[in-house]
Amino acid sequence: MNSSRTVSSHFKTPLLETPFHARARDLSQVDSFVAWAGYTTVDVFTTVEQEYFAIRNATTLFDLTPMVKYRIAGPDAVPYLNRLATRDLAKLKPDRVAYAIWCNDAGHLIDDGTVFRLGENEYRLCTAERQIDWLLDSAIGFAVTIDEITADIAALAVQGPTSCAVLKAAGLLGIEKLKPFEIGYFSLSGRPLTASRTGFTGDLGYELWMAPDTAEANWDALMAAGRSRGIRAIGSQALNIARLEAGFLSPNVDFVSAEHTIRTGRDRSPLELGLVWLVDFDKGHFTGRRALLAERQRGPRRQLVGLDVIGNKPAHNALLYAAANGKREIGSVTSAAWSPTCKRNIALAMVDAPYFQVGSTVWAEIYLNRELVWERRMSRAGVVERPFFAPSRRRATPPAEF
């Protein structure tokens, strides 16, 4: 597909198509597309259940081309990234990936993303939101160049317990040796391809990065190689259940970027989001450090926690209370789903102190629509550890044969 044509006629085609779009269009049975970061992408191909079970039992292809990608390079790339992000990225070795977050001056989360070290002074940052202004303002005084390269790279997530076997069958020699968060360079029928053992499912899986003009050929080759191992294209709905089981946060769902909030008190800090493990106070200065130190001293007023809710009705958007009488409101659910693998009714929720301690009990106000009659349930919920699902196969190297 020709992205320059669609860019120049943006008023006619407000959403761009990814290099995999023609294949997705062919496979879509329910014609359900959604806008994601300026691209049209698939929400559901067939049914959410089929696609979800493919993630946990076979192999899935998910087009993540719209993931915003920045190339960060230059002699100051390391100090730049270490001033931007809260964790110590000086420790990140070449051909490794790190999950990272970055904050504004007030220590409130702007976004999370993955940092790929592709060379001595060359990095790639993958994020959910466009934020070139923040990245460029962060570059004042640093010898780095920052370019958005989203459209230059087609990206495909290959996730599921048989994903390694599928990639091996497709001809990615040595893919089984790739460790979690490692980057490897392969070729698929002579087409160069970069693979990283990363993903958003909490399962065994890889992300493939390729030139857009090789996208369709690679898709076809993977589909052919995976036929006997249950390969299936998936949309964002199935992925959303998997990421919730894995305990991953979704931007604009579980938190709103501090650069986008309008109302006071809607920003979230890493301490509140349970991401304090990503904050290294000893590595030197980074944006938000002084504010986060002060917050650490005060202690967070609220925290994002995992909930295990009684019953089987997902607690979508539920308000949370300290007791079943619903008098004292103490928070709300940000993400909820019935977890088919855990057989638990799980949720992520923002809960006020002191109710966020693991082991506390809270009450979720769940509304059910039963053939246009609304019913209200007060369901008991326990604060539990995250992630809800963490199979050992996600880390096993080499992964099991299928």
Partner: protein
């Protein structure tokens, strides 16, 4: 403490020698970066508060932009501002500047408007022709407004959005000052506060010459034309500072403005501060997220738990400290500070005293304005908007040698003029344009002082680019940052550093980039020192 040898000011001159690193102390309580008037006031106040203080000045003499220096053999002049009218009388008294050698060549100097082709107009309470009554009423009201705003200048601005009672009291106090004016005056102040000076003066006066002279004060040293919004604020600000400075406000120190800083330096040294000249600071050192001292360009390191910078905020944060010790949002704000200069300084060495047409002996001792109407100023500003210098610039002119013959060889004279407008980023580039602009200015001066052209022995034009280079202030702005609503009071220079404290513990600002801003005032230095003394024990 006793001053180090070689650190005291040599009597009667502006030059000082730097100490050698070997003999220097390597640790102080406080280091003040920059030996301009604000740095010196700050150092003196800190020393009086019991701190050991070292002032580090990059140039070979103290003074910063308030310096007197030779621009042609035998001819000396105040390099930037050439009149002292904003420094509070109590500050000068507290630091005993007169007993440290400060003398006056002239005080209470008159202002005269030069009108090409017509008789000049002396701006004063008594004589303003058909506008006499209006002028008296206007002056009286502006004086009341200025008086109400005076307390605002002498205080560290409060922080907004905090729950601290001292901040709330300060805001309430400011509101009370304005309310205290009474209903009519308060309403008028709030009405004109955001206006432009052109419209304000049109409301009051008939005479173009009077309006031009009064309007020029609102835009002198700024990036504005008389029709720019916010120019009433800059005028009120100037009047408030002049009011605080006292009755004899407009004055000329003997030996030029540099003499003020020489006296300040002696005062600081007498109070125990040490001063090292020719010691440019390369960077502010940081350890464990606080300042620990400075490193000089020579590589020498001097330790101090408190570093107070009188350098402009952009240079302080982006060059001396560096963005890596600051948060992105803060750096973004600092980067957006508007600090481009639009005023140039012209110095002429003259063979004889200039004869301004129609100007008597008394008036020629004072301040001469070449801004014959508001339209003239606005037209001059038009060029600057498009990156050109004015084809008919407005000027504030003094002939300092009339009052202080010692600045030139016997019988010779110096003319000093602030010339507007001369943009920092001249479209054509100053290279090659400097001489043309000088010629243009001399021609203009010749038209109001016939024969002046033939008496010019030598000339110097300091464009904003030259001012930036010589005084190390980013953008060459006279006030280390434009004086405008969005860079004023509680947001000067930027939120997060408007109380002289900076995000980095131990680092403070004391220059004109802080509230209450520029002009040779010294208040920013004094306020900063008080903030350091107040905060000091807590950190």
């Amino acid at each position: 403490m006793t001053p180090q040898s070689g650190t005291t000011s040599q009597s009667g001159t502006t030059s000082q020698s730097g100490t050698t690193p070997q003999s220097a102390r390597t640790r102080y309580d406080c280091i003040v970066i920059g030996g301009g008037h604000n740095g010196l006031v700050c150092a003196a106040t800190l020393a009086r508060g019991g701190r050991s203080v070292l002032v580090l000045e990059a140039q070979s003499q103290v003074g910063g932009a308030a310096v007197t220096r030779e621009f042609a053999p035998g001819f000396r002049v105040s390099a930037c501002a050439h009149l002292l009218h904003l420094m509070p009388a109590d500050l000068m008294r507290d630091l005993k500047l007169e007993s440290h050698g400060l003398e006056w060549s002239a005080q209470g100097m008159p202002t005269t408007a030069l009108i090409p082709g017509a008789a000049p107009l002396t701006v004063s309470h008594t004589g303003a022709g058909p506008d006499a009554a209006a002028f008296a009423a206007y002056s009286e009201r502006m004086r009341r407004f200025a008086q109400a705003l005076v307390p605002l200048l002498s205080k560290v601005p409060p922080r907004l959005g905090t729950s601290g009672w001292s901040d709330r009291w300060a805001l309430l106090g400011l509101g009370w000052q304005i309310r205290k004016l009474g209903r009519r005056d308060m309403r008028e102040l709030l009405r004109i506060g955001g206006m432009n000076v052109f419209d304000l003066l049109e409301e009051h006066f008939e005479s173009d010459a009077l309006k031009g002279a009064l309007g020029f004060d609102a835009v002198l040293g700024t990036n504005f034309g008389v029709r720019s919004p916010g120019t009433v604020l800059t005028l009120l600000y100037r009047l408030a500072a002049e009011f605080a400075a006292g009755a004899s406000a407009m004055s000329q120190p003997t030996g030029g403005l540099g003499a003020v800083c020489d006296a300040l330096a002696k005062s600081a040294v007498a109070l125990g501060a040490a001063i090292r000249t020719a010691s440019p600071v390369a960077r502010i050192m940081v350890e464990a997220d606080r300042t620990v001292g400075v490193e000089l360009e020579s590589g020498e390191r001097i330790a101090a738990a408190t570093v107070v910078s009188s350098a402009d905020p952009k240079s302080t944060f982006l060059k001396l400290l560096g963005p890596r010790y600051l948060d992105t949002g803060f750096v973004r704000r600092v980067n957006h500070i508007r600090a481009r200069g639009l005023a140039a300084k012209l110095h002429l060495a003259l063979d004889r005293a200039p004869q301004f047409a129609g100007v008597g002996a008394g008036a020629s001792r004072g301040r001469l304005l070449l801004a014959p109407s508001l339209q003239y100023i606005e037209r001059a500003y038009n060029h600057a908007k498009y990156g050109e210098y004015s084809s008919a610039p407005a000027m504030e002119i003094t002939v300092p040698t009339v009052n202080d013959p010692g600045l030139a060889p016997p019988g010779k004279h110096v003319l000093s003029a602030i010339v507007q407008y001369a943009p920092y980023a001249l479209k054509a580039g100053w290279q090659g344009q400097r001489q043309r602009f000088t010629e243009l200015c001399v021609d203009l001066l010749d038209s109001v002082a016939p024969g002046l052209r033939g008496s010019v022995l030598n000339s110097e034009l300091m464009t904003p680019v030259d001012i930036e280079r010589e005084f190390r202030n980013e953008g060459g702005n006279w006030h280390q940052g434009e004086l405008a609503f969005d860079q004023f009071f509680m947001v000067r220079p930027v939120p997060g550093a408007a109380q002289h404290r900076t995000p980095l513990p131990g680092l403070f600002l004391c220059g004109a980039g802080c509230h209450p801003g520029g002009g040779v005032m010294g208040t920013a230095g004094r306020n900063a020192a008080q903030q350091v003394l107040k905060t000091g024990s807590a950190i």
